[in-house]
């Protein structure tokens, strides 16, 4: 057995520059030194063993001779650690003779007058795995159970527990012994340990004891209460009929002083029964914990429990009543907690309490308004989002929500404001009865908007949904917000002050080709605009003007569309060609023209782009000529496409939660087999005990679900390492665990000589580390042997293990012989699991990652989507781009992929491919794949993997790359 497979209790980092003394130095220290030197030497020895150095037998003898008799406490404890790690058996698995001496020392320590020496020795015995050593100690261990110090007693119970569990025959009456002991014990810690032992080895006795003292459970210490809950959970899990007896007890524990017990009891209660009252009691306990505990970790984990509770559909009703209680959690700081709470509340809210919830959230929003920091902004954003979702779910509350949300249009946080606008847009579209009110408040609020994008969307809503009668008003609003026209002139005038104003105008006048036509068209609206801008000329510019001067010309382009829409509606109202409509159009053209002028004047720092200019020019043309065919495009088609988009969004919203939470559905298939618990075999109980399950998962001992296809059988993982005609034949079975690789190497002596000192030497490349050196063996003629070696893996990189076998031939005087073995390549696919990140995270990570690997596409596959699927399947990467986005057939494809490694690394990939000849189905795929990761190794490895995967078809047959 290699040391990698032995239990390991202690790890100490030993700096690489630490000088470890030689054995002879250590021996001298042990022999000649005082206690201090011995302690030091023993520490060094422990470091050496932890580092994987082999200790000679002689060394062991020195320790026994010079350290064991000492009474120094530190030395005694160090010795215990030493005995934990030192190999106690020889290469054949037989116990070393020296250990008999050690065993006697253990016995003496168990009778030592110092209670702490006794206690720690007992604790050490928990870790001893040699029944031969334990056997003579049993009487002493039993005697310790009656020691007057609780420290000794509690460790004695633990020792008895582990010994009984591992070697029952050594102390077959342990449960009885401990039961009797438990009856008389008073110390809480000892009681807990004794009870814990019974819980694990003899539930019937534990239950019996519990029944005897069930009324005093409330007065027990918290550690004992915890174990009691665990017992009840275990018992009721394996035998549901027992539940009825313990519900009262668990309910009592729900009121325990210790929060830990309350948490555990709530968890147990819901497993015992699914009666609504119980679920309610448990959920209330959880909520109480979240509100009362200040630690964020607790809040998050307990919230998770609530979410899982909610996933059972029968509990949903109960939890719905608790929504308002859940919302109390929002008072605690911590964005993540609040976000989770909001999601849960939104999930649970029903028509009965949605009003209350909205009121509560409104109050919360107002609270956030008072102080502005980064986190508050995000919180507000989350609140707005929740309110939005609530309105979609329950349209009745919209009228109450709208005024609240409108206040946030002027919010400096752009995301929150844009959420508000999304909400407004949807509300206006879907709830016509609210349209009037919404538009009015939008008009009131628009001038205070601070972000251009928000302003743009607000304008769009106004123009699209205003009635024809309102067009004029909207136009006035726009003019108000754009200020003095033409922009360039008034700006210059403003800058240069009074006397230079005339001069400048002369200079710039010839340039203005489009503008002069309508310069002094003194309508009523312009007058007011003029006066208003004049009055506050100095302090502030109207929003639209400010945006334009900042160079946001895209706003101009969208303004053009808005104006066209308005003028169309206005024309439809007043009749084509009427004076009013012409004047309206004229106004619009003036505005656009002055924006174009501003753009071309170079007055602003940002240059305008061609598209925006083009757009504005085109609309001026439309305005001037009036093209009736386009009317539909600007009007109804616009609303229709919004409708389409909203529908698509709501369907994806509907899909989302079910896909995400995987909520258990209440229905089952008609032909599903019914499981009778009474008939099922004992070992595959339905629903395993969660405690055991999570423990075995953590220890990595959980049975993996075995697939029974041939390719994943053991044989598939056997690698031939040497040729059949080599003097030593070798093959390895590579067993990949989570963090380590076990090589099980079979070596066969093919010669007729006895080969001595046959040793397997391994060397690794990449992030692999050899845990221990395999021990040399001797092989008789035609004999064979198995050698195991463990290699530790620390990151996802291509690893290669090189190995040689060297040996001596008995009786020959020649040098050491050597067989070079085939190198073993470690497949990184074992370490990669599909990952999931959202778009924002993807972009963030994409820009954060330092390494990129660009792989050109060369593949025999001809279909784009097939190629993507193949890539995803062969590299374990998940395609993040939704199906909708890669639908259709257009000759090109772009998609994002993501994967995590089990070592916590992320890898991203972006595929951009197209058909070389889009019309030709058989044309090759060209393009490239870019891989990004935090570490170089990961990037390169994945790149290699992808390029090999591309060349192979799905059936795994490698195909030569097309020689193009």
């Amino acid at each position: 057995m290699s040391s990698g497979e032995l239990p390991c209790y202690t790890l100490i980092h030993v700096p690489s520059d630490l000088e470890l003394p030689s054995e002879s130095q250590l021996k001298e220290k042990f022999e000649k030194g005082g206690d201090k030197e011995r302690i030091d030497a023993l520490k060094k020895l422990i470091y050496m063993i932890l580092n994987g150095d082999k200790v000679s037998q002689g060394m062991l003898m020195y320790v026994i001779r010079f350290c064991l008799p000492s009474n120094e406490h530190t030395l005694k404890k160090l010795l215990l650690i030493f005995w934990e790690i030192v190999p106690k058996t020889d290469s054949n698995g037989k116990l070393l003779h020296e250990m008999i001496l050690v065993c006697d020392a253990y016995r003496k320590d168990l009778q030592h007058p110092n209670e702490f020496v006794r206690g720690s020795t007992l604790r050490f015995l928990c870790k001893l795995r040699e029944p031969e050593l334990l056997e003579p100690l049993m009487p002493a261990i039993r005697a310790c159970l009656d020691h007057r110090h609780s420290y000794v007693r509690r460790n004695a119970v633990c020792a008895i527990f582990t010994i009984y569990r591992n070697f029952e025959f050594l102390i077959p009456d342990a449960p009885e012994l401990v039961t009797n002991y438990l009856e008389t014990e008073q110390d809480a810690s000892c009681k807990r340990n004794a009870f814990m032992m019974l819980l694990h080895v003899d539930q019937a006795r534990a239950l019996d004891y519990l029944s005897g003292c069930i009324d005093q459970v409330g007065q027990f210490g918290d550690i004992l209460q915890l174990v009691i809950v665990e017992l009840i959970y275990k018992v009721c899990h394996s035998n549901p009929n027992e539940c009825a007896r313990f519900i009262r007890c668990v309910y009592n524990l729900l009121q325990s002083q210790s929060p830990a017990v309350r948490y555990e009891a709530a968890g147990a209660l819901v497993t015992l029964t699914s009666a609504p009252a119980a679920v309610k009691a448990a959920a209330s306990a959880y909520i109480e914990l979240i509100v009362k505990e200040s630690d964020n970790n607790v809040k998050l984990i307990v919230l998770d429990r609530l979410v899982t509770l909610r996933n059972t559909s029968s509990n949903e009703k109960v939890l719905q009543g608790l929504v308002m209680d859940i919302l109390r959690v929002l008072t605690s700081p911590g964005l993540e907690v609040r976000q989770k709470t909001l999601n849960l509340a939104l999930d649970l809210v029903s028509s009965r309490n949605v009003e209350d919830m909205v009121m509560f959230l409104k109050k919360e929003i107002n609270k956030t308004a008072t102080e502005a920091n980064d986190e508050n902004g995000k919180y507000r954003q989350a609140l707005v989002k929740t309110l939005h979702a609530a309105t979609i779910k329950f349209p009745d509350v919209a009228s109450a929500i709208v005024p609240v949300l409108m206040e946030f249009l002027s919010d400096s946080n752009e995301t929150a404001a844009s959420y508000v606008l999304h909400f407004v847009r949807e509300a206006v579209h879907k709830l016509p009865n609210l349209k009037e009110a919404i538009l009015k408040s939008l008009k009131d609020g628009i001038l205070s908007i601070r972000a251009p994008a928000i302003f743009m969307s607000a304008l769009w809503i106004l123009a699209t949904y205003c009635e024809p009668e309102g067009c004029l008003e909207v136009l006035k609003l726009i003019k108000n917000s754009i200020g003095d026209l033409p922009i360039v002139d008034s700006e210059i005038a403003e800058q240069e002050g009074g006397e230079e104003h005339v001069h400048k105008e002369e200079e710039t006048a010839p340039k203005k080709s489009a503008a002069p036509r309508v310069t002094a068209d003194g309508t009523y609206a312009t007058q007011t605009a003029l006066s208003s801008t004049v009055t506050k000329k100095q302090n502030e510019k109207p929003p639209l003007r400010r945006f334009l001067l900042d160079g946001e010309y895209f706003l101009g382009a969208s303004l053009a569309t808005v104006l066209t829409k308005l003028s169309q509606q206005f024309t439809a109202l007043n009749g084509v060609g009427s004076e009013r409509s012409n004047r309206f159009r004229g106004e619009c053209m003036l505005i656009l023209a002055s924006i174009i002028h501003l753009a071309k004047s170079g007055f602003t720092s940002n240059p305008v782009n061609e598209d925006d200019l083009d757009r504005m020019g085109a609309t001026i043309k439309v305005l001037a000529q009036g093209i009736p065919e386009l009317d539909g495009q600007y009007g109804d088609a616009c609303k229709q496409s919004l409708e389409l988009m909203l529908n698509a969004k709501s369907t994806s919203r509907l899909d989302d939660p079910t896909a995400k939470t995987g909520r258990s559905k209440d229905f089952v298939e008609v032909d599903k087999t019914i499981k009778f618990t009474q008939l099922s075999a004992r070992n595959n109980q339905q629903g395993e005990n969660l405690f055991d399950l999570s423990l075995s998962q953590a220890l990595g001992t959980a049975p993996k679900s075995q697939k029974f296809d041939f390719s994943s059988s053991k044989l598939g993982k056997v690698i031939q390492l040497a040729g059949f005609s080599d003097p030593i034949y070798a093959e390895a079975y590579v067993n990949v665990n989570q963090y380590d690789i076990v090589l099980d190497v079979l070596i066969v002596n093919q010669t007729s000589d006895t080969l001595q000192n046959v040793s397997l030497e391994l060397a690794t490349v990449g992030d692999l580390k050899l845990v221990d050196k395999p021990t040399p063996v001797t092989l008789g003629p035609a004999d064979f042997s198995n050698i195991k070696a463990t290699v530790k893996v620390a990151s996802t990189e291509n690893g290669v293990i090189f190995s040689t076998i060297s040996y001596d031939v008995r009786g020959s005087t020649s040098d050491r012989n050597c067989v070079y073995l085939q190198d073993i390549k470690i497949d990184i696919m074992d370490y990669i699991v599909p990952g999931n990140v959202n778009d924002i995270e993807f972009r963030q990570m994409w820009s954060d990652f330092e390494w990129e690997n660009k792989v050109n596409v060369m593949t025999p596959i001809r279909d784009l989507r097939e190629f993507l699927a193949h890539l995803s399947a062969s590299t374990n990467m998940k395609v993040l781009t939704g199906d909708a986005a890669i639908e259709g057939d257009c000759g090109f494809l772009a998609a994002n992929l993501c994967a995590h490694s089990i070592f916590g690394e992320d890898a991203l990939a972006n595929v951009s491919v197209e058909k070389a000849l889009p019309m030709d189905d058989s044309s090759p795929i060209v393009g490239h794949i870019r891989i990004r990761a935090k570490s170089q190794g990961m990037c390169l490895t994945l790149g290699d993997k992808i390029s090999t995967a591309m060349r192979s078809r799905r059936d795994g047959q490698p195909i030569a790359a097309p020689s193009a």
Partner: protein, 518 residues
């Protein structure tokens, strides 16, 4: 909650010290878990912006606490109780400054073992101990009053011994001198006494045999007058809760002691309830057999003991006499009657009758009236014989066991044959009459046959184990019950004093008490 391991990491991601608390985790796995941690929490900046201090993976949860330049990390199962874990973590992080002057890598490594010792005190087998810092200090310093007392006593004893030695030496010298002056030879007996004195000076056990436990802590009840009322209120609340549950269809029963369904798996069967209807006069015969048979054949010892007891149900029957019939071959069993019975009557006509002046039988009480004992000398006398034949080979042991019913007039019921096995090996049973059960916890193979009678007077069990040698399979224990008696002495009639016959019932049982093949 199950705490798997605790560790201290440097901020750069090195695991400085780690200690594992549950059993059976390999080094590779532990290192893997520890190595994953720094990667999971990401760089410092991520860790700072994060508002919680736990990370979960598929299999474990890490809960950590940053302390200047280090992290204190606990690895727990995903289902572990977070509140409890945080409590533990708090304790761990307070332990570190207790032993290290600063929270940096060097200091931690300098006190690595101190930390490990302290960690051990906080957690036991994955469960938190309720200890505080002061207690941990005490535990790790190991300063024991008892040890000091013990040392002092030892010292004092040594001193006293030395003193005694010196005095004795002086005395001896004086005596020598005196003797010399008187011209006599010194007496060596004294010297011998001296040497024996000095060698017996080491005390053998703790000096004070105090067994008293620490005084019982007062139950931690609610304190204050107002609470008592509240307590009553709570139970009301509890009843309401339970009622509610009942209405919702959840059954609730009071907690009652469930008797331990202890299935004794020893070879001796549990005595069954009386199988016959008891009449007013009831005669019960209990026979027990004890036998030790050598594995190579031959009886080492064996005897059959029996008692006949009588029980009468009413006072008017308290002086009945019982007519027995002895079909056993003469000279087999030694018979013995109760001294209150008329021996003569018994010897002449096999009637058990009270002496004329004897006390009547007590009512409703079993009274032994007749005993017999038969010493077995030959193996052939046993009701059943067993032939166990272990065969050692290179790849384990093959064991054949054959039973033969030797007394075909007896039918044995509930036969249980217990074969011990080498530790931790599961047997492979190739042939078996009846049924068998491998009890792993006791390392035995239990072979049971409901009935052995003339119809199946022989049978075999054959199994093999991968290791062990022939000694491992002994002693084999045999247990059985039977209603047929080994020594056939039966009741034929019961008569009252006035000569009228009485209805009576008879119960016979023949059990094995200690029947083993060694």
């Amino acid at each position: 909650m199950v705490l798997i391991a605790a560790g201290v990491f440097s901020k750069s991601g090195k695991a400085l010290v780690a200690r594992q608390f549950v059993t059976d985790m390999t080094r590779a796995r532990l290192e893997g878990l520890l190595d994953a941690f720094p990667k999971l929490i990401g760089n410092d900046k991520d860790a700072l912006t994060r508002q919680h201090t736990f990370v979960e993976t598929e299999s474990v949860r890490y809960v950590y606490h940053p302390l200047d330049n280090i992290y204190v990390v606990l690895i727990t199962t995903r289902n572990s109780n977070i509140l409890e874990d945080l409590e533990t973590l708090r304790l761990f992080s307070r332990v570190i400054p207790e032993y290290c002057r600063s929270n940096d890598e060097k200091e931690i490594l300098a006190h690595d073992f101190d930390l490990i010792f302290a960690f051990d005190e906080v957690v036991t087998l994955g469960y938190r101990e309720s200890v505080n810092l002061a207690q941990i200090r005490t535990f790790t310093e190991m300063d024991s009053h008892e040890e000091r007392v013990f040392m002092q006593i030892k010292e004092a004893q040594e001193k006293a011994a030395k003193q005694a030695m010196a005095e004795k030496a002086k005395e001896l010298k004086r005596a020598q001198k005196e003797a010399l002056s008187r011209g006599l030879k010194p007496n060596y007996a004294n010297v011998q006494a001296l040497s024996s004195l000095s060698s017996s000076s080491a005390p053998s056990a703790v000096a004070e045999p105090i067994v008293s436990r620490p005084s019982q802590p007062a139950p931690r009840g609610p304190v204050g007058g107002g609470k008592a009322l509240k307590l009553g209120g709570k139970t009301n609340d509890e009843d309401a809760f339970l009622n509610q549950l009942r209405q919702q269809g959840q059954t609730i029963t009071p907690v009652a002691k469930a008797g331990l369904g202890s299935s004794s798996s020893s070879a001796n069967p549990t005595p069954a309830a009386p199988r016959v209807k008891r009449e007013a006069v009831h005669v019960r015969t209990d026979e027990k057999i004890n036998a030790r048979v050598s594995r190579d054949g031959g009886l080492e010892s064996g005897e059959v003991l029996a008692t006949v007891s009588l029980s009468v149900a009413s006072p008017d029957l308290n002086s009945v006499s019982v007519q027995m019939s002895n079909q056993a071959p003469a000279g087999g069993a030694q018979l013995q009657v109760h001294p209150n019975l008329d021996k003569k009557e018994w010897q002449t006509s096999s009637i058990l009758k009270l002496k004329s002046n004897g006390k009547p039988y007590p009512v409703n009480n079993d009274v032994g009236i007749l005993k017999w004992k038969q010493v077995l000398t030959e193996e052939e006398q046993l009701p059943i014989s067993l032939n166990c034949w272990p065969q050692e080979s290179s790849d384990g042991c093959q064991v054949n066991i054959e039973y033969t019913l030797q007394r075909e007039d007896i039918s044995l019921q509930n036969v249980r044959i217990v074969v011990p096995l080498p530790t931790s090996t599961a047997p492979v049973v190739s042939e078996c009459e009846g049924s068998y059960e491998y009890q792993k916890t006791r390392n035995i193979l239990l072979w049971t046959l409901p009935v052995i009678d003339s119809s199946n007077s022989t049978g075999t069990l054959e199994f093999s184990v991968p290791n062990g040698h022939s000694d491992h399979f002994f002693p084999v224990q045999v247990g059985f019950q039977s209603e047929n008696l080994f020594v056939p002495i039966t009741v034929t009639d019961v008569i009252k004093q006035d000569g009228s016959a009485v209805q009576y019932s008879v119960e016979t049982s023949f059990n094995s008490e200690n029947f083993e093949i060694i």
